[in-house]
Symmetry: C2
Subunit: 384 residues, 2 copies
């Protein structure tokens, strides 16, 4: 395999800072020994800060999807109603998991270019008595759509005693999500998105309210059963052997996050997204998400007429060494997606915009070369 | 945290060769792109060679326990009888998982210092009509006991149409296990044992016979549902984002295995275990496993009278920079365990034996210093 440094502008995995990569090379330690305990305690504290929670933190050696399954299988008993607004591939997946673990998924169908509104949730709740929990995908990785009413849904869940589960995989650490303030009972994210780590870990926050349901729940889950994680956490351990190098990487990533500061990071993500959106619009490209629901971390762009994202992506990868994603599920072949998470700044954004306009020109797209870069530059200059 | 190179003589994680560690630093790639496909295809071929199978290989981003749950949840439907000889903590865990995923565990109780015999299996089968599968822990990591009748159980399963599941986590790649020849339908291992990788991956082989059950099975598993893995494998992908750096590490580890050759590796493990067992006996230490069931990869030694393994282990770690394990479950506080897997040779064995006799002397154990090393040395010299 030819080993070539590429700019990974995917909606996960994302570019990993060299110091985070190097952290994986720390000598392997005993996961039942004092060094791991020290590491776990620091990781937990740092994660709490990033999640904005005083609740518990669980770190799973699995992908984010494993984390989502974990969040649901631990609170859903057979026949339990869980509401899920569906507006993309990952909310479809949440729905599927609810059903798989024995629950009854109450789907709130939403136009895929938009996210659910609090009114839609309230209406759906009126129709579905006895709903136990509401699960929301905060940032639909498949569409670049951000849910705007998360705080309101949290308040509603809090008032009515419902559990609130948030899939924040492609957004936590890149955009505002104060877990406790917004009454999120279980929040899930993955290591390979805004947290700038390699893939392989899922992180969950768990509230006291969630624990009291989990304790009573009969789950078939073993590896994803949360109770042993809480038990072993007391000793600074995980119940099963953890993916140690990824824990080291996460530790280093949390230090970089602490150094930069969450508020600064959120602003940086917002600015980079704005630069990408403006550049795309000035290049005459059509964005997938409705303006008010645009994500700050995943930018979805419709294929320009006569150009296949497949060709565009291959050209970007081979000729320009920049990797972006295509559409998923029913959106396959209709769009391309740019991940703007974690390690993103002027450098990455100007690189991807210049390569994009250049590759589009290669494919015969009529736009004045330089328009995109000039627009993106303006956004950055205005902010500094 | 003080970062100090230690000799990790645990029954997992184990020492990882520097070249395998370094492989984790390869630039992150798109798990939906051509580089990952190439990697997956090579990994699958190499894994098939190590497992000795023409069946399918599935690589999960999870610990070995996740792999064991996966192997069972995919074939066990509600009420299905699965036989499990229980002779240690990990076979207890398999039993627990069988029950967790809805099966009826048919326990064959075995003395913990021994493994099940084919006669015990046959007797148990006579009593339990309608058994669907037999699960066996090949190497009990908690006791250093190796099951000797695996081939015979496989033949029996093959004749009677039962599924044969083998937990080979702390042994595959370190001792003989020709999966197809021994009629193993699902064989599970972890990356951090004999395969010399960091922890975080589970590998499974799946036979055609297993697939035909899996296809009909109603499983609650989502992340561990095997069907999507088979589907995505066709494209050289995994259904969910894989722990990419660990896949790179596994790739490099497979190359070192190919270079040395499986037969040579098995002999090396056998020799190292022999040196450890002989040294321990000559130091007057009592081994936990009955002679005929001694493992070549995990060496369990009873605490000498008046010495706590806790003190011994702490001394070894702090003063001699060698990490070994204690007892588990009901054996906690009664023994210490030495992992002799993956990166093991004269160097590691002589280091651990000399440190062990030295630490034992520190704790007031009466033995002639040098006895252990001299015995181990003899074993190595005889063989060369």
């Amino acid at each position: 395999m030819k080993e070539e440094e590429q700019l990974i502008m995917l909606p996960g995995p994302t570019n990993v800072p060299p110091r985070v990569m190097r952290a994986m090379l720390k000598p392997i330690i005993n996961h039942r020994g004092p060094e791991f305990k020290e590491l776990m305690e620091r990781l937990t504290e740092d994660a709490k800060r990033v999640f904005g929670t005083k609740g518990d933190i669980v770190i799973l050696s699995s992908s984010g999807t494993g984390g989502v399954e974990c969040s649901l299988s631990n609170i859903v008993s057979s026949g339990d109603k869980v509401m899920i607004p569906v507006h993309g591939v990952f909310s479809q997946r949440v729905k599927q998991i609810i059903e798989r673990v024995g629950g009854k998924a109450v789907e709130v169908p939403v136009d895929w270019s938009r996210a659910v509104t609090i009114e839609q949730i309230e209406d759906a709740l009126k129709k579905e008595k006895g709903t136990k929990a509401i699960a929301v995908v905060y940032n639909e990785t498949s569409t670049g759509v951000k849910t705007k009413c998360l705080k309101e849904v949290g308040e509603l869940c809090n008032e009515r005693g419902l559990l609130f589960v948030v899939d924040a995989i492609s957004i936590l650490g890149g955009d505002v999500l104060p877990v406790d303030n917004w009454h999120v009972d279980i929040c899930v994210t993955g290591s390979q998105k805004c947290l700038m780590c390699p893939p392989g870990l899922a992180l969950l926050s768990v509230s006291e309210k969630a624990w009291s349901t989990i304790e009573k729940n009969k789950s078939q889950a073993h590896y994803f059963n949360l109770l042993p994680y809480r038990e072993f956490q007391k000793e600074g351990q995980t119940p099963y052997t953890p993916a140690i190098p990824l824990f080291f990487a996460l530790d280093e990533a949390f230090q970089t996050i602490k150094e930069e500061g969450l508020e600064v990071i959120f602003k940086r993500h917002k600015l980079c997204a704005e630069a990408l959106y403006s550049a795309a619009e000035n290049l005459g490209l059509e964005l997938f998400a409705d303006r008010e629901f645009r994500s700050n971390t995943v930018i979805a762009v419709k294929n320009p007429k006569g150009i296949l994202d497949k060709d565009l992506r291959e050209l970007l990868r081979k000729k320009y060494r920049i990797v972006i994603a295509g559409g998923m599920g029913k959106l396959k072949g209709t769009m391309f997606r740019i991940g703007s998470m974690g390690v993103v700044s002027r450098f990455e954004i100007l690189s991807v915009v210049s390569a994009l306009e250049s590759a589009l020109a290669d494919l015969g797209y009529r736009s004045a070369i330089g328009e995109g870069v000039s627009t993106a530059r303006e956004i950055f200059e205005k902010s500094s």
